[in-house]
């Protein structure tokens, strides 16, 4: 039995694959930033509680976590949708192989979501409880991140799928995949870095609005950012070394782009680190966003190169129907306008109901 025999037949597309690739890349980038903030901030608050540093910074984070969960999940829906359009026949198969764990994510997220509300609403009610709860939230989010890593690694590794025949109960995690640990660590360190930077940005924003007691917060955030970024160079190198030989030889289709974005990403990350160490928060943020975007592209090319022996998105059959896309783009634009309108409505309305 060959891996190729197990790969399901994909369904037809309504518009060429490039549209979905663009939508996937953009929405995943948005999700990634939010997810990194959520996981990073959760870990940082826990470490700070555990280290006895339950300062105002933690309280500020606790108040923001529920929204961050809401938007992280919400912005995860779109890339998951577009991923399934392009790679659903890989992802559904890998999801079934680890189904029990995959479905567990939903339960974990519900508990975590409520956990963040409890954490926020009961923040002042006890230091020990805060530590335990923030630890539980961080652990739960780590678990979700790990399971996502497992699935996304499993979906590009059809050669391991035949394990299904000895375990069809959805409990395969493919822990022997060499990319798994470095990939997960790479994500976690990136989350710590982005989480730290988001704290720095928050205090930088306050500082620019005239708040004088922000340097401590900026320092805390940027130190986390810098430390995690330095560690991530190591994790990234490990991750590179674990990628399949066919990817690392840079001989496949798109390898030039892969290499270009990888180098650009590394350069941007180096810049962001330098700015971070200098506590130049906004410059670090711009550099980091550039690095993240490059790494999102690198990730896409890595997936394409890994799957190249079996599948190319350009092979997907297209039966064109553009009107649904046009309607979506119109509603998407209107949605952005509506959100802008609502935020302005709240920010500009100073009249308080009596």
């Amino acid at each position: 039995m060959t891996a190729a025999q197990l790969i399901p037949t994909p369904d037809v597309l309504q518009v060429p694959w490039g549209w979905f690739q663009i939508l996937l890349t953009i929405t995943f980038f948005m999700h990634l930033v939010l997810m990194n903030i959520l996981l990073g901030c959760s870990l940082i608050t826990f470490f700070r509680h555990a280290a006895g540093k339950s300062t105002e910074t933690n309280k500020v984070i606790s108040g923001k976590l529920p929204f961050t969960v809401a938007f992280t999940i919400n912005f995860g829906v779109a890339p998951l949708l577009f991923l399934q359009v392009l790679y659903g026949h890989f992802m559904y198969a890998s999801s079934v192989l680890m189904a029990s764990y995959w479905l567990l994510i939903v339960g974990i997220l519900i508990l975590t979501y409520y956990g963040t509300y409890i954490y926020s609403l009961t923040y002042d009610k006890g230091a020990d409880f805060r530590t335990v709860l923030s630890g539980a939230i961080a652990l739960a989010l780590l678990a979700v991140a790990f399971l996502f890593t497992c699935n996304l690694a499993l979906m590009v590794n059809p050669e391991s799928w035949s394990a299904y025949f000895s375990n069809p109960r959805g409990t395969l995690l493919n822990l022997t995949d060499p990319t798994l640990a470095p990939r997960f660590l790479h994500s976690v360190f990136a989350s710590l870095a982005v989480g730290g930077l988001s704290i720095g940005l928050y205090y930088d924003f306050k500082k620019r609005r005239g708040d004088t007691d922000c340097d401590g917060g900026i320092s805390t955030g940027m130190n986390w950012f810098a430390g995690a970024t330095i560690l991530n160079f190591g994790a990234g190198t490990w991750y590179w070394g674990s990628l399949p030989q066919s990817v690392r030889t840079l001989t496949g289709e798109g390898s030039a782009f892969f290499l270009t974005f990888l180098l650009l990403g590394i350069v941007a990350a180096i810049f962001s680190l330098i700015y971070g160490l200098l506590h130049r928060v906004r410059s670090a943020a711009y550099s980091l966003l550039a690095a993240l975007f490059c790494m999102v592209l690198v990730r896409e090319f890595a997936r394409r190169l890994t799957l190249a022996p079996w599948f190319k998105t350009s092979d997907l059959e297209v039966v064109p129907q553009y009107s649904p896309l046009i309607v979506f783009l119109l509603i998407f634009s209107a949605g952005i306008g509506l959100i802008w309108y609502m935020i302005r409505l709240v920010l500009t309305d100073k009249e308080v109901r009596s």
Partner: protein, 845 residues
């Protein structure tokens, strides 16, 4: 066929998706209706200048946010995760067909979250006008989410012309889109009222509490009336076949249909009740009870809607086992094991048959069935069947069992699957033939030199089936047996002796000795029993009667006859239960109970209730049975037409061997009721009676438009071997196959197909016919239908030919091989009984 199947055992069969989906759908509808509830309640507070109502609205908004945004939002994602795990092929189709609908819905989802968070956190911080705008925007986004999802969900139910044009918009605005949208909108408003109860009953001020509870009551009751109207619209928008599937074909949906119908007035009454109540201690539990009833209401609707798609996930496009309708013929031709991707045993060997069976089960059954779970437990179903019954069931899927997809495999795979399900998954049936212990029965002596008389006798029918009503509780037996006898005075010109003759019988039954005399009729003596004599124990499918003929008080002749009575009704092949007697025969009460449950479900009867009160259910009391002298109740089919007509679609077997699933003529059974010469010549039931479908067609056509005749007939359209239009109608018991169809002019047959030419009436039946001399009954010399001499009875050769052995020491028909001396005292040269009667018996072993 494209994807692996997640083995869930007890959590399969829809349990997982039902758990997640119904809960989510309830909360998701609250997220829509509750949005309008918030805005209008806030408006109410503003208009009435009531800070208390506004404060209630704020608190309700927090409850609303925590429930809908956290739990509702995530269980929505959970449904997506779940369907992708349980039906990846269908999920992939829906994702690819409606990707931009989902993407659009995501935009509304973002809008909902932003609007709701701003709405809640800006309470009392911005102007009322701006705050209300946020509320309206939230409701608009939530309702538009419903608008989009409704399009996809109802596409699955009624894809309409999308099936032909594959156009996004025709699929989205499908035939049930609008009624479903209205239905769900009203449902969402009702649910807003139900959740409103939960918060309003906790208001501390009794006056405000009463006011707000009544207000919530209006939210429940007013939309309920509109919902019922839209439900009728929804129903009428369904194609007729799906209406039939929901409202008549799927008995499993009846509890949900009843639930929906009964809960409507209960919820309305609940709204009135809670509006009238005042004590908080009573209001709180009532609010929770109403919420639970609402949950059941919603659940009933969702189960009904899902049922309407059967046997598809996307109606008329993708079967529930993830096989595209257009691909089915190809899969059936190649076989599942050769077509599916996630298969280990592609080639079947004697060693891996059951492993292949397990894979077939996983691929074809487990997408819908659990194994030992609460919903659709396949082991419960399989437990009822023997391998043969299961095979017949598998072959009937998609037609007589239209809520199941047609079996996707080939014949070998069907047999393997049936064997696996009934012998491995449910290790209940051992496919070993029944143990038959030979019985010694000797013919009575006959001295051809000194005997003056010959007594020829036997029952009019072959083996009679008895359900033993006293034991089983159900009377589906044939009419009681009739014995006939002819006394012949041996002579150069023998004569039939009637005057001054008494023919008596003595019959040892399972419940003692029966004795009596025959009545004298025109040309023969006859004894008709009033009930079927009990079979003996240990089980044997016959009783032996001894007959004596007396002339003027002197016994002049005696003989033995075999009276075939079998209790081996094959109902348990499909209806479960065990044999009642000796592990090989007898309809058990458990089997009977299962039959009646199905009858009650399908025909809206209440027979199970009678059965449980120890009242024997007599089938022929409603379904007329000529053999028992009963007439059908108005609008009901005759018993024979109902039994054959209903089961023909279910017991379809392409190899034409369905009869043995019910009748007692199986090669592996304990009765072997078909054991005459035709059996030994390898003819089967269908040579004379046609295949089950053909046989049933004749009976149903005779019924005209009575009852369900036309509907049952329509299920046989592609199953008959002879075109339906060409099959002649026939009445059961009186219009039977005619021997002379094959044996034209009593000659050796030129065909072995006796089907479709029926005797005109009872006079033409074999047991009523006589030879050309019009003296001797055909059956006097040839034996009984199905056991024509020389019958090879499995309990002993002599049992099948007692009189031939007695009178001529051979098992062949009386007077075969020019054995005229049985009656004639001189050599005969003329074939006076029928042409060929002086020929040598042809079919010797």
């Amino acid at each position: 066929m494209n994807y692996p199947i997640w083995l869930l055992d007890a959590f399969g069969g829809g349990t997982l998706i039902a758990l997640i989906a119904v809960v989510h759908v309830y909360v998701a509808h609250f997220a829509v209706g509750g949005g309008l509830f918030l805005v209008l309640t806030e408006l109410k507070g503003l208009r009435e200048k009531s800070p208390a109502i506004l404060e209630y609205t704020r608190k309700h908004a927090r409850f609303f946010l925590l429930l809908t945004m956290v739990f509702g939002g995530l269980t929505g994602v959970g449904i997506w995760f779940t369907i992708a795990l349980l039906s990846p092929a269908a999920t992939s189709k829906l994702i690819h067909i409606f990707v931009f609908a989902w993407a659009t819905e995501w935009v509304f989802f973002v809008g909902e979250i932003v609007a709701l968070l701003l709405y809640y956190y800006s309470f009392n911080k911005i102007s009322s006008r701006s705050h209300l705008i946020l509320g309206w925007i939230y409701f608009a986004c939530a309702w538009l989410s419903l608008f989009v999802i409704n399009g996809v969900i109802d596409f699955m139910l009624t894809p309409g012309t999308w099936l032909h044009d594959n156009n996004f918009w025709t699929g989205f605005f499908n035939p049930t889109f609008w009624p479903a949208l209205f239905f769900r909108t009203f449902l969402a408003l009702m649910i807003a009222g139900l959740f409103g109860f939960l918060t309003s009953v906790n208001i501390k001020d009794p006056t405000l509490r009463h006011k707000m509870v009544r207000y919530c009551g209006l939210w429940l009751m007013a939309p309920l009336l509109l919902l019922l109207g839209s439900a009728l619209w929804y129903k009428s928008a369904l194609p007729p076949a799906q209406q039939q599937m929901i409202f008549s074909t799927s008995p499993e949906l009846k509890p949900f249909l009843s639930g929906f119908v009964f809960l409507s007035p209960i919820l309305f009454a609940g709204g009135l009740l809670i509006a009238a109540l005042r004590p908080q201690a009573i209001l709180r539990p009532v609010a929770w009870i109403l919420l639970l009833l609402g949950f059941l209401y919603m659940g009933s609707f969702e189960f009904i809607r899902e049922g309407g798609r059967r046997p598809f996930i996307i109606h008329d496009f993708l079967y529930s086992n993830s096989i595209l309708k257009k691909d089915l013929p190809q899969v059936q031709e190649r076989g599942v094991l050769q077509t599916a991707r996630w298969i280990k045993h592609r080639e079947i060997t004697p060693e891996n048959r059951m492993n292949a069976g397990k894979e077939l089960t996983t691929l074809l059954c487990l997408p819908c069935h659990s194994e030992g779970g609460l919903l659709n437990d396949i082991s419960l179903q399989a437990r009822k069947y023997t391998p043969e019954g299961m095979l017949a069931f598998i072959n009937s899927m998609g037609t007589a069992n239209p809520y199941m997809p047609p079996f996707a495999g080939n014949r070998e795979e069907a047999a393997i699957l049936a064997e696996y399900l009934t012998t491995r998954m449910v290790p209940r049936f051992a496919t070993v033939p029944a143990d038959i212990t030979p019985v010694t029965v000797s013919p009575l002596p006959f001295d051809p030199e000194t005997s003056e008389y010959v007594l020829l006798a036997g029952p009019t029918l072959g083996t009679i089936l008895s359900s033993e009503p006293e034991e089983s509780g159900i009377d589906i037996s044939y009419g009681p047996p009739t014995l006939r006898a002819q006394l012949i005075f041996r002579d150069a010109s023998p004569s039939l002796i009637m005057d001054g003759v008494t023919v008596s019988y003595s019959l040892e039954t399972g419940k003692g000795l029966l004795q009596g005399n025959f009545a004298q009729l025109d040309g023969y003596f006859e004894k008709t029993f009033t009930e079927i004599p009990s079979v003996s124990s240990p089980y044997q499918p016959f009783l032996i009667a001894e007959l004596q003929a007396e002339v003027e008080g002197k016994i002049v002749a005696a003989t033995k006859i075999k009276l075939g009575i079998s209790t081996e009704l094959g109902c348990r092949n499909c209806h479960g239960g065990s044999w009642r007697q000796d592990g090989k025969s007898g309809l058990s009460r458990s089997t009977a109970a299962n039959i009646l449950v199905i009858h009650d479900k399908r025909s809206n009867t209440n027979l199970s209730a009678d059965f449980s009160k120890e009242i024997t259910v007599v089938c022929s009391s409603c379904h007329g049975d000529f053999s028992r002298g009963t007439e059908s109740s108005p609008g009901l089919l005759s018993l024979s037409a109902a039994m054959h007509g209903f089961h023909a679609g279910l017991l379809f077997n392409a190899e034409g061997n369905s009869c043995i699933l019910c009748h007692s003529s199986s090669e592996t059974g304990a009765s072997h009721s078909f054991d005459g010469i035709h059996k030994q010549l390898d003819l089967s039931c269908s040579n004379c009676h046609g295949s089950l479908a053909d046989h049933a067609t004749g009976l149903l056509k005779k019924e005209g438009n009575t009852g369900q005749a036309e509907k049952l007939l329509s299920l046989l359209e592609d199953k008959t071997e002879v075109a339906i239009d060409e099959i002649n109608p026939r009445s059961p018991w009186t219009m039977e196959p005619d021997c002379l169809t094959c044996h034209v002019d009593f000659q050796p047959p030129e065909t072995d197909d006796g089907f479709n030419i029926w005797t005109e009436n009872v006079e033409g039946l074999f047991h009523n016919r006589m030879g050309e001399a019009a003296v001797v009954l055909c059956s006097s010399c040839h034996g009984q239908p199905h056991s024509l001499y020389p019958a090879n009875n499995r309990y002993g050769m002599a049992i099948g030919a007692l009189q031939p052995l007695q009178y001529q020491d051979s098992p062949y028909p009386i007077a075969a091989d020019k054995g005229c001396a049985v009656c004639h005292t001189i050599e005969m040269e003329d074939e006076m009984h029928h042409p060929g009667s002086l020929a040598t018996f042809r079919n010797r072993e």
